[in-house]
Structure formats: structure tokens, C-alpha cells
Amino acid sequence: MMTLKVNGHDHQIDADPDTPLLYVLRDDIKLNAAKFGCGLGQCGACTVIVDGKAVLSCVTPLLLLEGKQVTTLEGLGTIDAPAPIQRAFMEEQAAQCGYCIAGMMMRAQALLQKNPKPTDAQIRAELEPHLCRCGTHMRILRAVHRAARLMDTAELSSTTQAIVHGSAP
């Protein structure tokens, strides 16, 4: 049994310590935003944020998460109150099939937290580990820029920010 902190809540997890975080999120906690793409850390669909950094949850075993804060897309916003990154992706219609988008949003979110005004080149470099078969890359780039502007105009709600930064809501 170990305690896993996800989106500000403690979860008691009964799983082997070498279970990938992705399996625990999807199967035990029923948070399905992070996707199983390749299972080898090569496509980015499973990306979540751990202590402010984007992490590939399919190759991150539970035992590495002792005392750390995990944030999934569900922790950023809700359908009624989407976070700036989610609003931006919707407004730019950046998803086609959408399978890669949760991962893209999580890494973009981590980027914007440490660099609120990234250049185009910085966004491209940061999102390099993410594959998108539909080819909405240009929209994704626009969405990340839009999210940066939304966050800049202080539309980020205080509760969302608290969860992302790891303090209790």
C-alpha cells in the first residue's frame, strides 16, 4: 500500500512498486486523460506533470513517486471551468482525433509554468517528444501561444494554479 498524491488528493494504492504510473491513473484512480500510446516512452500520449515537470507516466514506476505531486489533465480544469491551456486548445480546434492532445497539453502546461512567454522555437523543441498522427501541429503551436496569452491576462483561476503547483486546494 502506498499513498499517491494526484491532483491534490491522496489515494491509497495497492499495487506493485514497479507498476507504471499510467496503469494506476487509468485503472485504479479512473483518470483517463493520460493515454496509453506506445508504452515505451516514445510517443508522449501518457505525459502528466510530476512536481512541475512533464513526465512520461508509462515508464515511470510508482516507487519513483513517493512524496511527489502528480497532476493530470483532470487536475487543470473541468468541462464547466476549463483551464487556460484547455480553453486555448478548444478555441484553436487543436485536436483532431485527440489521442495525443492530453499529453501535449500537459507538457505545454509545464513549459508555460516555467517560461510564460515561450518562442515558437522553444515550443517546438519542448513538444518534440510528442507524436501526432493527424497532423494538427500548426494548430497545437497556435494553441500554446494562445494559452500563454490567456495565462498572461490572469484568467487562470487561483484554485487551478494551486493544484498545479502542488499546494493543497
Partner: protein, 453 residues
Amino acid sequence: MPKPRTTAGIIAALLIGGAVAVFAVVWRPAISATEPPAPQSFDANLVKRGRDLAAIGNCNDCHTVRGGKAFAGGLPVPTPFGTIYSSNITPDPETGIGRWSEAAFLRAMRSGVDRAGRHLYPTFPYDHFINVSDEDDRALYAFLMTRPAVHAPAHANDLAFPLNQRFVVAGWKLLFLRHGTYQQDAAQGAEWNRGAYLVEGLAHCGACHTPRNALGAERASASFSGGDVDNWHAYAINARSPAPVPWDTDALFRYLRQGWHPDHGVARGPMAEVVSNLSSVPESDVHAIAAYMASVFGPPTQDHLRQASDVRAQIKSPPLELSPTHAAGASIYSAACASCHETGRPLPYGGVNLGLSTALSAPDPRNAANIVLSGIRPVEGERSPIMPGFASSMTDQQVAALLDYLRSRFSNQPPWNGVEKAVQDARLTQTVFVQTSAGPQNAPADPTQRDKP
């Protein structure tokens, strides 16, 4: 006892003589600037040959910075003496070599002196380029002078006094710059001799793979015994090689040509750029390099062959018992690493079985730490080896626990010392390396595979 006037005369003569000698060692004339030659004035075949030679010489690796224009310089090269920035070797008349005549270029390659007569620092490996033929230098000149000119002023070097005084380099050359470090060997075949010419000259393999002395010169007595570059260990590539399976001509050829070999894994760090360049040059030259280097490695010992067959047997039946002293590292390995490294998927898209890893049998944990933290970046627009980095998901202690476990399980060498410190250093230096190095341009994979699924 000589008269005071005689003594003064002797001292004066010595001083003047000394000054003349120093002047002769230090002073080099400027070679007059020429109008940049028109690109059309070069023979197309010469340019093509120069292109291949520049790839063998790995020129783009140091003379291009990440995100910058090819050959425009600006790459910081860390040395024990300070940071030296590579120069602009595009034909830009103001900031590049546009006004250099062919004679000025040949002199720079031969003796490390720029057109204006200034001594160049030996980060530019003229101690190897001294062996390059005039004919090849001319082809390189033709290639570089037909590249797009890029306006990129030189970045000031970060060197302390007195090393920031270029005349000091003249003294270094007096001590260490030698003609004839490479000679044809009539007892060997044409291919071996071609390989020796390339390895000891333009390819300057020893610049990374040979250890350096306190003054930064290669130790001739320890050729190819392993050196340092950008916080990577460049492995010994002679009889002291730490590779679990001995290298031979065929393995060297495939590795240098494709960027990976099933018995040795994938080239990464600075070597990834070398194999990326070698994937684009005539196959015969890569084979010549492999043939010569195989003779430098020498025939494998019985012990080495036995070790190799042990490793191969272990790969087929991995141990089921995990050592309790390495429980944390073993769990990390089985959860984060084994899904690629133990599935038997073939290289380069699967991970090499770590029993074959040279990094884990190396004298220090630097390369293994670098690769765990940074992974292997895919080459843009190419199918290429890939490994995710774990810098964001593992603490230094966790990486250290993993490395200790890997060393104990996959190598027959004693445990490393100072693993956690090595991980901290790797975290700092790899961030810089990944940001400044241009990285491989071609996929370091068999080009014939590129169109296959």
C-alpha cells in the same frame, strides 16, 4: 674573471639572440587578403570530394551551434583551461574565411595559424590535420568556399591570463606539434594505410579517444586509451577497450556506418554526430577506418572471448534472483528500463541488452548517467534510435541507485565510486550539451532502412 663590459656584451647578445629565437617561434606573417573566389571557379568534383572529407573530419560538429547556420561557428567547447568558441568557417568576407587564399587555408590546417598570422588554439586539431595531404586540403577549401556565407562574428574565448595570449600557443606547438606522426606502412595493405591516414589525420579520432597531459596535448604513449569530451568518456579503442564483446572490422564498419551494432548498442553523445557524418561518405573510407582501427584494438584475448560468450549466454537466460542490496535500483530497472532493454526487440528501435553495454563496463559512470538522464534524441525528419530521458522523473539518488544496480548486474567490473556526484555533474553538463550541440543531421541508422516500416 671577464671585464664588466664583456659580461654586459654577452648578456646583451643572449637577450638579442633569445628575442630573435622567440620572434622566430612566435611570429607568423599575415597572408594577404584576397577577393572571395567565385563559387563557380571551383571544380564540381573537387567540391564533392571536399564535402565527403569535411564529413570525415566532422567539421560541422564543432563549427555549428544548435539552431545556428552550418559552419558559422559559435559552439562553446569546454576545456580544462577555459571555454573556447569555434570560429566561422563560411566564406563570409568579414567574419568568416572569405578573404582567405588557399595558401592561408593550407597553413591553418598544417600549423594552426590564421590568415592574419595569429596562432590558433589546439582545440582546432591541427596536430592531426598536419597529416592531411595538400590535395585533400584543397578539396576541403573548395567545399567550404562554396558554402553559403554567414555573417557571424566570433564569440570571445573565456580564457584566463596568460592563456588568453596567443603567443603562448607557439610554445605549445614547439613542444607538441610534430610532423610525421603518421607514416605509410609498406607491410600493410592499401586499405589499412588509407584507414591510418584518415584516422590519424582528418578524422582525428585520437582528439577524443586519447588521454591528454597537463598541457592539453595528447599523450602519444597512451594512444587511443580513452579520453574526455563534453563530460562524456570517449572509451579506450585499443586493447584496453571496456566493451563486453570484442570489436572486429565488421562490427566497427557497421557501427560507424549505421550508428549502432547489435553487440555494442547505439552511438550517442558526441559520437552520434560522428556516425551521422560517416553515414554519408564513401563506404570504402568507412571500411578503411574500421580495418585500421581493428588492428589498433588488436586480436581479442582468450579472456575477452570467454567474457563475450558468457554475456551472450546470460542474455538468453537472465538471472531470476535480484540482489537484495540493490532492491531499489532493481525495481527501477524492471519498471522503467526492462520494457525496452529486455524484450529482445532488435536495434536500433529496441534497446540493447545491457549485458552488452560498454557504458556499464566503463571506468566511470559518466556516460551511463548522461544517457539515463537525457535519453537519445530522435533525429529530425528521420527514423532513428530513440530513448526517453529520465531527468524529470528520477532524483539523483534514484539514478545513482539504478546505476549501482546496473553495474553490479551487467558488468564484471568492481562498483563505481562517486556515482551520485557523477549524476549531479551529468545533470548540469548535459543540459548545456543538449542546448549547444547541433546534434546529428542524418539518422545514425542504416540509410537502406529509411524507407522501410
